[in-house]
């Protein structure tokens, strides 16, 4: 829509202006890790970060969400929860994480519109921040994204030296900055070139890549191949890969009660947990770790593309970075491609 520039020293002013109308969530240092948290003051923001440890999906798809509350006993009643009217800005979201929202949107508004996610989604503006230094396991460029990819954010900021190159992509984005237009300047063509240059430079710095050509069809043919057993041998069955993944969106629903009160809550679930597929009868259709490790790969690279025509991976590299036993999704896809089928 519109391209502008913002002097770096004006950023605190901009955030302050935005804060008068929005709750701002930004990368902050929590002890030794970076997480997206609501901030009160600009000083809490830590922009010297590669990416947040837990993906910002936790803001829209909360790890714990109360669906409704109830009273038990004779005076039983159900109380719905209010949706907050407050508008949020996620400031500093990376293009890969922003893309993850575009991907999981399909699930939350497909045949049933999930009001809990969609309410937050509609009331949240994404101000992205291009990556200047990619991480070891970043491979967004293989997943139709890029370090300065602006398609999934409302506004994208790119550090071009002493100022930010600002791309306002949507009317939602425009709404956020409309009262602070005086802080910005018009972008010149040299600014635009600079952004282009930087984005190309960073793209080149990304060393890992995943070849997904034909992977959907390939996976159809190798469901029973021994590679899944081999890959799963070293899997511990913890939930790191799925909880850290910005596109994993499975949940469990539980009633949590005291004697008189209770709440139905939705919490993240992980297909790595044997309980995930246990039927009420006790039967488990995915009894072995092999079934579960395979499911993560198939959900992302086979079922999801079949349902929604997009691979459910953005190349953020979190699952590779944090896996305790170095199960590497790039390596898995490479291995799958090599299987003769």
């Amino acid at each position: 829509m519109e391209t502008l520039t913002l002097e770096k020293n004006k950023l605190p002013q901009l955030i302050k202006k935005i804060q008068s109308r929005y709750t701002v969530l930004a990368p902050t240092k929590c002890d030794n890790i970076t997480l997206f948290k609501p901030i009160n003051d600009y000083k809490e923001i830590n922009l010297d970060f590669l990416n947040s440890k837990v993906s910002p999906k936790s803001i829209l798809f909360c790890q714990t969400e109360t669906l409704f509350k109830f009273k038990q006993g004779i005076s039983a009643e159900v109380k719905s929860v209010d949706f907050p009217n407050s508008k949020n800005v996620i400031f500093g979201i990376r293009p890969c994480d922003a893309k993850s929202f575009s991907i999981v949107d399909f699930v939350f508004k497909d045949d049933f519109v999930d009001p809990y996610y969609m309410n937050k989604r509609e009331n949240t503006v994404l101000i992205g921040l291009s990556c200047i230094k990619p991480g070891v396991n970043c491979f967004c460029t293989s997943m139709n994204g890029g370090p300065a990819f602006a398609e999934d954010v409302d506004i994208l900021l790119t550090d071009i030296g002493d100022k930010y190159y600002v791309e306002i992509k949507t009317s939602k984005g425009n709404e956020v900055v409309k009262t602070s237009k005086d802080l910005f300047s018009k972008a010149s063509s040299s600014d635009k070139n600079k952004k282009q240059e930087i984005s190309e430079k960073v793209e080149k710095a990304i060393t890992r890549n995943m070849n997904t050509k034909g992977i959907v069809e390939k996976l159809d043919k190798i469901f029973e191949d021994p590679i899944w057993k081999n890959i799963s041998l070293k899997c511990l069955g913890c939930g790191i890969c799925t909880y850290q993944c910005p596109t994993c969106h499975c949940f469990d629903i539980q009633d949590e009660t005291t004697l008189s009160d209770g709440a139905r809550v939705r919490v993240w679930d992980t297909c790595m947990n044997p309980e995930y597929t246990v039927h009420a009868s006790g039967h488990n259709p995915r009894p072995a770790r092999m079934n579960r490790t395979r499911n993560r790969v198939y959900h992302k690279f086979n079922y999801y593309p079949k349902n929604y025509n997009i691979i459910a991976c953005v190349g953020c590299g979190r699952c590779i970075n944090d896996c305790p036993v170095n199960i590497d999704i790039i390596d898995i896809i490479d291995q799958a491609r090599e299987v003769k089928a």
């Binding site: 714990t64 060393t207 890992r208 511990l236 913890c238 939930g239 992980t270 305790p324 170095n326 590497d328």
Partner: protein, 327 residues
């Protein structure tokens, strides 16, 4: 440093036995300083086996992660032994599990490696960030020798060692069938300086500290799954009836989880530090384990995983126990 040729020879001998289904060791990982568990199922796999100071993983967890799935009609259970390569600390896990009768000594073949200490992945990744290519590491008496892009870096061991290794008392495996390399002399003593200085803090300070830590927990249970001692058929956190800990993720439930986990390891934790290594929220879990280890040592003069013939702490009774805590 272990003679890799000898290690591979010993492993090959074991995998060629008819009564062994696989041997668990380490191989190069997919990037940077990563090393990854390797399941050797035939002598062809042996050449992938490595051992260097990056081999942090306590592989004994895989003995307890073996799945016993329902068999198809007519199929017979694979009762072959599992081989595992262990460092000193790792071996204590096997001893403790045997003490607890969680494992049969005859079901495992243990290759022991006297260990001179392993590198903390967090420390080395901080010192040499952004390593994509896998890196070769060697060591001399006092330094790690790291080759990156043709350049050799000598880093004093003290800088990169896991904290647990700096005070290691058990570099030599306590239990093994084959020992590769010669035993190392050690002067390590139990050291609870960290715990002691933390104990001096006020209750309020301690609570604030742990609240901040547990707030970060995402309940992925990697700490549990990586722990060789966490082998309950059903973990108390997974139980629904009764439900001890709610699935809601908040400071209260997270605290319950983390404290329960630590308490279930009292007198059992063998200080391999795997829980803290894998925690994506970087919660200092070893601090909790160490506190309990200290209490157990002071109260009962017991250390976990040192002798297969000793009864585990929580299942023994001594008539001469002072029982000072009972009124």
């Amino acid at each position: 440093m272990v003679d890799l040729k000898k290690l591979r020879e010993s492993t090959e001998k074991i995998i060629n036995r008819d009564d062994v289904k696989y041997v668990i060791g380490w191989e190069k990982g997919t990037h940077g300083f990563q090393v990854t568990p390797l399941f050797i199922t035939s002598s062809d796999d042996v050449e992938r086996l490595i051992f260097n100071p990056l081999c942090v993983h306590n592989l004994t967890v895989f003995l307890m992660l073996q799945e016993k799935l329902p068999l198809r009609k007519g199929a017979e259970e694979d009762k072959r032994k599992v081989g595992v390569i262990v460092k000193g600390c790792d071996s204590r896990a096997i001893v403790q599990i045997i003490q607890e009768k969680g494992l049969n000594r005859d079901d495992v073949v243990i290759i022991g490696i006297p260990c001179t200490g392993v590198i903390d992945p967090k420390k080395i990744n901080k010192k040499f960030p952004n390593q994509t290519k896998t890196v070769d590491i060697d060591e001399d008496a006092n330094n790690f020798v790291i080759k990156i892009d043709g350049k050799t870096h000598k880093v004093p061991k003290e800088e990169l060692l896991m904290d647990k290794c700096k005070q290691c008392q058990f570099p030599n495996p306590i239990i093994y069938d084959v020992l590769v390399g010669s035993e190392i002399k050690t002067t390590g003593k139990p050291n609870y300086k960290d715990v002691e200085s933390f104990e001096k803090k006020s209750l309020k300070e301690k609570w604030e500290y742990w609240e901040k830590q547990f707030e970060k927990c995402i309940r992925c249970y990697a700490c549990r799954n990586v722990c060789p001692m966490c082998y309950c058929k059903e973990c108390m956190v997974d139980q629904l009836n009764p439900q001890w800990i709610r699935r809601s993720v908040n400071v209260s439930e997270n605290t319950a989880w983390n404290i329960m986990r630590a308490f279930h390891l009292a007198g059992r934790c063998i200080d391999c530090g795997e829980c803290e290594r894998v925690c994506p929220a970087e919660i200092p879990l070893v601090k909790l384990n160490k506190k309990l280890e200290k209490e157990v040592l002071e109260l009962f003069d017991y250390r976990a995983g040192l002798d297969v013939d000793v009864k585990p702490l929580l299942s023994m009774f001594k008539p001469d126990d002072p029982e000072e805590f009972i009124l």
